[in-house]
Symmetry: C2
Subunit: 325 residues, 2 copies
Amino acid sequence: MNAPFPAPIGQPSGSTSAREQHLASASRFRDRLIGAGVLLDMGVEGAYGRSEAFDAATEGVDRLFVALSAGDGAEAMRFPPGFPRTSLEKAGYPKNFPNLVGTIHCFCGDAAGHRRILSCLDAGEDWTDQQQTSDLAMTPAACYPVYGAVAARGPVPVDGKRVDVIGWCFRQEPSPDPARMRMFRMHEQVFIGGEEAAQDFRAQWLDRARDAAGRLQLPHAVDDANDPFFGRTGQLMAASQRERALKQELLIPVGSDASPTACASVNYHVDGFGKTWGLRLPDGAPAHTACVGFGLERWALALFRHHGLDQRAWPVGVRATLGLA
Amino acid sequence: MNAPFPAPIGQPSGSTSAREQHLASASRFRDRLIGAGVLLDMGVEGAYGRSEAFDAATEGVDRLFVALSAGDGAEAMRFPPGFPRTSLEKAGYPKNFPNLVGTIHCFCGDAAGHRRILSCLDAGEDWTDQQQTSDLAMTPAACYPVYGAVAARGPVPVDGKRVDVIGWCFRQEPSPDPARMRMFRMHEQVFIGGEEAAQDFRAQWLDRARDAAGRLQLPHAVDDANDPFFGRTGQLMAASQRERALKQELLIPVGSDASPTACASVNYHVDGFGKTWGLRLPDGAPAHTACVGFGLERWALALFRHHGLDQRAWPVGVRATLGLA
């Protein structure tokens, strides 16, 4: 758990000036990526189009994740970028991370409402005041829809069930740091089962994440971390999460050397998700759960940062690991 | 353009009773898919999880689309499931399809706003009244972000530029018909160039779409179609689109035999998008644009409908075309 890097941006120990220096450096990296055509500017912060080269990098990291998981017997599940708002609420997300939530809103009006939209559009005014909250919200982490889907099937074995899931995630945190996208893909493996097996899962994936970074020739370190819980109560929850060592991150410098980026995270929820979602072991006790997530865009950005903007010139071993022709 | 099938659901000629019969049949098909574990119920209409088998089918259709495009020299671009709301407005989407729009809303409040969310959640009341319209909207068709990205680079050649794009799309039309998802993936090829070449593109892709359906052993027909423009003015626009034959669909029975589903559509925008997005030919005239879209989930559903719920028992030729091991 020794980390040669300082705490990443957003962690309690980051000072304002360290944050500003990081953002300035990250913003310059973003401009270089856009200038070289690796990312496509969409005119808003944290949302980018992706070139063939960038897409090839994320696909390569994805293949590596699949290779690391080979033999795990994980069941693949795939979900769309939005999921039921009631599930977001059940997961406690608006309570813990209200500032990161994205809800999807829709128009339920008639011809008169439509005329109002048209006149607002014509006048260059906000036309969205008739939008109503729908039953869907943006998915904040790829694994969120998994727990309910598994719970619906009945108890899980003590030695555990593994689910492989990849999906688009949304978090409302606009930033000039290209590693802090608002829409990004996460490839995750979820473990649901007994306490001991859940802890083994965690140790196994920390090793695999280090192995991935090594094979991709990326400087890295593992450190304890916490989720960005909102507000003053949130600070207590974050401190407790760190104290109990429930979250570890694999950190790689992306936007700046001083504030490395979490490219993989391993999370142990003890039996909290088991209780929330009604996940049971055969004896009726709540299951323990854990998950690992690889942020595909962050790994891709790390590759461009450390091996250069010209993908063809990346080290032969790195290209081979990524399966690039 | 002869079509052995009646007009698809949602088209002007569909009577209420034909619509009800279609939905009853489609809903039974959905229940069979969920019962067999091909789709995963998410508890809301039009949003589903996907099993390994369903994912393999969409991946196979995607590979077929790529094979059909081989040699086209299309540049790949990828975009996230949301894009700038100003781009949605520029494309005229809230004007023409207000009922299908999804806007993404976020919380911009402080500790007091958070306390209000918490008390609403505790009381089981709506907590979303503080959500504010963000600068992002759900992308309604995969090609929407392409036009602005290409326009930013300057004029296109008369013989045209092709862009390959695949992405998640959102349309707010909850339905028990599994072929009418609210979140789905579309693989598209976009053409931007001269008038004649744009029309050639259209003819080429209608042939390719028919070829794809033939190789997948799916019953199919091509027919003129229109977009579901909103309201009374919308009916006039739809009629004009049909009269000018600007949209053709490849129809395959999915939810019912009587009302086949558009699994591919070929659209010619004349120079409308060229003018909107500032897409220019070398002589300064607005470029003509066209696009073809394959709805990956709809093709997958057609395969399960016609070849059975057990993917391993699909015809050998179909499995080979899809690249299934």
